[in-house]
Amino acid sequence: MRKVAIVGAGLTKFVRRALETPKELSFEATKTALDSCGLSLDDIDCVAHGSAPDAFDGIHQKGEYLADGCGGWNKPTMRVYVGGATGVHAVVHGWHHVASGMFDICLVVCEEKMSNAMPHAQGFFLTIFDAITERALHPNLLWIFALEMNRYMERYGYTKEDMALAAVNNKRNGLLHPSSQFKDEITVEDVLNSETMAYPVSRLDVSPVSDGAAAVVLAAEPVARRLTDKPVWIEGVGWTLDTAYWATRDLYYPRYLDKAARMAYEMAGIREPDKQINIAEPYDPFDYKALHHMEGLQLSPRGKTVELLRDGHFARDGNLPMCPSGGLLGVGNPIAAAGVMKICELFWQLRGEAGERQVPGDPRLGVAQAWGDLMQVSSVVVTGI
């Protein structure tokens, strides 16, 4: 299999409402990523980009509209989407471009401008539900998360306080991230006292609505070695989509992630992920999801995750730091861009360039994951140096 590395990365700040248009956000991230590895657009063979629903931006065929902002003008440009899992999956999509042997250098760009949707991006999630059998109930996105969170907590006897610990961990990490849209540390009490949105979900259990963009540059082995002395290799990729009949699954365990993770670990030759992996960036749009996903990623035994979290196992200086970037909870959640932000974090962490956020102990192997749709899809990327 052709070896592919990440050689450059760039982000915009994540903000509640950005001045820049979707194209301009894409441009900023793209330009920063290109500059980070000393490349210009002429060096780029193709663009793999990702963005979640079109409804936020209110633009049909959004990939076409974004193409010039992503550097895709007069190039092979292809947009992928798997809902919230799009960010990490766009990197898988980019990997397909290079690992296939068809291209040597691929730019991966993800953008989301949720503030375009008025009055609130939430309203656009009504249309993710089955048009005939579910939408008539006027569901909102919080319902499904609340239903999943409740089932997860019930199964293992976790409390809301347990879940809040993940929010506190990630938000604290995020304070050090230059893209973060937050400035203040929060406590478990803050989470518990924030208003209930859809029990058991309270406001601070949830990541914010954000605008932002992120980009990475992928290159085939010989090119990557020429561009940098610290290429971060894509060691494994996996992705899985479960049935759309989401109410017929037991929501306590993310079996779709179980499969996606095993696919990526198999490719990476990883037998004991919980021992071999040094950094985890599980997808955390909600605090419980970070823990739920640690279990699906096989990085924590089912039902034992809170215990490990309380013991500091997942802290930045713990055995297996969880979301050292701050994650979606701590940095922000411009959906697809947030997934690429996690990949950027692995890139900087494994190269020892994460500054104040740097995980101690010379990490060698990291995993990033994203999740979405009707709680049914996961994409996983394992990187190593």
């Binding site: 065929q61 007069n74 992928v80 979405g372």
Partner: protein
């Protein structure tokens, strides 16, 4: 890069202007079942990965990829959606096999455009929200602008465009999967109600519901699975700027088609497309597009397509049969499923299964799809029945 990939299964369903009896799930299930049977009765659990192509606004579903897996038998399998024409989806499937991680990949797309009240409003939503959309023009004005500029630059004529419609709709008469077959006259087309002059009502392909599933496999698997694999020799795609006013070669040409074809020909090791390609199924969303695309795909020189058409060159019996299936003008317009329709018709010809439309002795065909207005994205695929 040596890994070769073939089409090993083809299935379709629907291909009607309305399809009220079936949900899109049921329609795709039918196409998938036919495809898997065509590939020797493979169970979808043995398929490694799945790619669908769709756009949310066409379906009225946000994150429409949620609803992909069940009807393809892809539950708990690697599945992804491409927000693009299904030929881009096919290209993604091809890349997946070439990585070596997957051996068998299904690719699918469908159209349920009949469920949509105003396609043109959705198309208008693809134009720039700040400086095109507020003009409140019917989006076909872009086709009118392009057509006028193309005719001006290439010295092609209105009548030549009309002859594309006559040819394709006539060809459609003998294709059971085509619904707009008709014997139309030059006057029928040129005197039809204008939409955005010079573009008239008859220059625009009609909408169609349908689902297509195509199965790809690596060389090793393909040879096990089928006696008549159709090899994907080359594929290329390209996007020009979405801004109408800043396309490098203006609105008269189709640079995206040229760039896509360059890549596909390079990969297929085709030096002289006009000599090495036996027939083509290429985008004819609007009548002038067939001529413009033929030139951009280097099937003839710029400004020559109209004259060659008049000489009968692109008829089923001509030197380079084009859209023998009827194309989009004759068969109907399937939106993001257009690309797979073109691949399907090309592959059926190469297998010798094109029925009354079968061309004799064909070995290499070209399929090309464009994403429609206002985009400047196209994908070209070179297929052959010879390894």
């Amino acid at each position: 890069m040596s890994k070769r990939v073939a089409i090993v299964g083809i299935g379709c369903s629907g291909f009607r202007t309305t399809s009220t009896d079936l949900s899109y799930r049921e329609m795709i299930f039918e196409a998938a079942t036919k495809c898997y049977e065509d590939a020797g009765g493979i169970h979808p659990q043995s398929i490694d990965s799945f790619v669908a192509s769709s756009e949310d606004f066409m379906e009225g579903i946000s994150i429409a990829d949620e609803y992909v897996p069940d009807q393809l038998g892809a539950v708990l399998k690697p599945v992804q959606s491409i927000a693009g024409d299904s030929l881009q989806g096919l290209a993604s499937a091809l890349m997946q096999i070439k990585t070596g991680q997957q051996s068998i990949v299904a690719t699918s797309a469908f159209s349920k455009v009949s469920n949509l009240s105003h396609y043109e409003k959705v198309a208008a939503y693809a134009t720039d929200p700040a400086y095109i959309r507020p003009l409140k023009e019917h989006p076909y004005f872009i086709a009118g602008l392009e057509m006028n500029r193309y005719l001006h630059e290439s010295f092609s004529t209105r009548e030549q465009c009309a002859r594309v419609v006559m040819k394709n709709r006539y060809n459609a008469l003998s294709n059971p999967r085509a619904v707009y077959g008709a014997k139309v006259t030059l006057e029928d087309v040129t005197c039809a109600e204008p939409v955005s002059e010079p573009l008239g009502q008859f220059d625009i392909s009609g909408h169609l519901d349908g689902a297509i599933v195509i199965l790809l496999a690596s060389e090793e698997k393909a040879l096990e699975m089928t006696a008549n694999p159709v090899w994907i020799k080359g594929v290329g795609w390209a996007t020009d700027t979405p801004n109408l006013d800043s396309r490098r070669e203006g609105l008269g040409g189709a640079l995206y088609a040229k760039l896509a074809a360059d890549k596909a020909y390079e990969m297929a090791n085709i030096k002289s497309p006009v000599n090495e390609i036996d027939f083509a199924e290429i985008d004819d969303t609007f009548s002038y597009k067939e001529l413009q695309h033929l030139e951009a795909l280097q099937m003839c020189g710029f400004g020559e397509a109209g004259k060659l058409l008049e000489m009968g060159c692109f008829e089923p019996g001509g030197d380079l049969p084009v859209n023998v299936s009827g194309g989009s003008l004759g068969a109907g317009y399937l939106h993001e499923a257009n690309g797979l329709q073109k691949v399907m018709e090309t592959a059926l010809q190469l297998r010798g299964e094109a029925g009354k439309n079968q061309l004799a002795g064909v070995e290499t065909g070209l399929a090309f799809a464009w994403r429609g207005i206002p985009t400047a994205t196209g994908t070209a695929v070179v297929l052959s029945n010879r390894l």
